[in-house]
């Protein structure tokens, strides 16, 4: 399969190729986030009742994202793409700090540390890809305004162990949730835009 049969004349990746790669990457990022949450939960959170406290405390909660199939199908694809971009951007900063703060944890297990670093890198890569997809799908300029700041760094550095562990638990719980949303929305968009809802 020659990459550019007619030389460099409009030689570019198809939208289908871009979506294929974005979905494979979002699937992988969520797989890692889920494993990291489970490992942390098993190792540090048993019996601390964190789930009851981790309610409505994600820094991206203010972004109104679709919560069921109907809402996901009704939202215009450009709005959903920009929403995905907004969630991804909102995770850039916390992921940088997560990787460094996990390193400081008492006998931080290698598997959690490695995943934190890998997720940070792959999240940036997915953001690059999504900007490319949005640029392709959207005629105008890529909107940059959807973003929610994260102010959770101090709580990751608290002296009180229980509070600090809860801060980590909550961040990993939110990362698992948001990366699952992104993966799910991308799979719906791919079926809608590429396969005419006939995946």
């Amino acid at each position: 399969l020659p990459i550019c049969p007619n030389g460099s004349v409009n030689c570019q990746l198809s939208l289908e190729e871009l979506f294929d790669r974005a979905v494979k990457l979002s699937h992988y990022i969520h797989f890692l986030s889920s494993e990291m949450f489970n490992e942390f939960d098993e190792r540090y959170a048993q019996g601390r009742g964190f789930i009851a406290k981790a309610v409505n405390s994600c820094h991206t909660a203010s972004l109104t994202t679709p919560e069921d199939k109907e809402q996901t199908q009704q939202i215009h694809h450009e709005d959903l793409l920009n929403l995905i971009l907004g969630v991804l951007r909102s995770w850039n900063d916390p992921l940088v700090h997560l990787a460094s703060e996990v390193q400081r944890m008492k006998e931080a297990p290698e598997t959690i540390l490695w995943k934190a670093v890998e997720i940070e890198e792959q999240n940036k890569r997915l953001l690059e890809g999504m900007e490319k997809i949005v640029g392709r799908v959207q005629s105008g300029v890529v909107e940059n305004d959807i973003y929610t700041p994260w102010d959770g760094l101090p709580s990751l550095q608290l002296d009180d162990e229980d509070s600090r562990l809860f801060a980590f638990y909550n961040l990993l719980h939110c990362l698992r949730r948001d990366s699952h949303k992104i993966d799910n929305y991308l799979k719906v968009l791919k079926c809608r835009l590429i396969h005419d809802n006939n995946c």
């Binding site: 699937h27 969520h30 797989f31 889920s34 789930i51 009851a52 981790a54 309610v55 409505n56 909660a61 994202t65 919560e67 069921d68 199939k69 109907e70 996901t72 199908q73 949730r177 699952h180 949303k181 993966d183 799910n184 799979k187 719906v188 968009l189 791919k190 079926c191 809608r192 809802n197 006939n198 995946c199």
Partner: protein
């Protein structure tokens, strides 16, 4: 005496669009007891009552599409009340994302084929359970199949990802095999039941010549 504490047994969603919870009624000590399921959703103060006690049978609550949200934690309790008083179950925290258990795959076909070099291989094909909307991409299913020689003890299990077709190569001529398939949402949820057993016989004349 007031009733004992009821317990919530489980909650399940068959297609990632609706879900149902079941509870074990409190022992009622002979007095007539009724149960009320109450829930609140993450980020909301409001407490709601079960929208539908009927559809899923006794001691159950059915949440239709309108009452089902994902990526949000439901805090669910059941209260048992009789004329002497009432008692409330421990809270049950549920995010519907993690309780999806689909029905088994359907339309399973087994077909024996011969490769170019006369090697027999088996082609299995199947379809997702009807309730599951995989076409829109809202739900993505993964499949796993298992097979064993009819008189064998041990199942061989093979994870096949999102494909709905699989080619089995290492088959023993003259043997009768049992094959089953089940499925699960990608990432989270529970494996479906296994599909009904299917049988396939590998003819002996498929023996490979030197």
């Amino acid at each position: 005496l007031p009733p004992e504490k009821p317990t919530i047994i489980k909650c399940r969603s068959p297609e990632k669009e609706t879900f149902t919870c079941w509870w074990k009624p409190a022992s009622d000590g002979g007095l007539s007891t009724n149960h009320t399921l109450l829930y609140s959703k993450e980020g909301e103060e409001k407490v709601h009552e079960c929208p539908d006690y009927k559809t899923a049978g006794p001691n159950s609550c059915y949440f239709d599409k309108k009452h089902t949200s994902f990526w949000t934690i439901y805090n669910i309790t059941v209260r048992a009340t009789n004329e002497m008083g009432s008692n409330v179950s421990d809270p049950h925290y549920v995010d519907v994302t993690y309780i999806v258990q689909p029905d088994p795959p359907v339309n399973i076909t087994l077909e024996l084929k011969k490769s170019i070099k006369r090697k027999p291989y088996l082609v299995l094909t199947w379809s997702p359970p009807p309730l599951a909307d995989v076409r829109s991409g809202w739900l993505t299913l993964e499949y796993e199949l298992r097979l064993k020689p009819e008189e064998g003890e041990e199942w061989e299990t093979i994870f096949v990802g999102q494909q709905t077709q699989y080619k089995m190569f290492s088959l023993n001529p003259g043997k009768r095999y049992i094959v089953q398939i089940h499925c699960k949402p990608d990432h989270h949820g529970l494996w479906s039941e296994w599909s009904p057993e299917m049988y396939i016989e590998i003819p002996t004349d498929f023996r490979v010549k030197d």
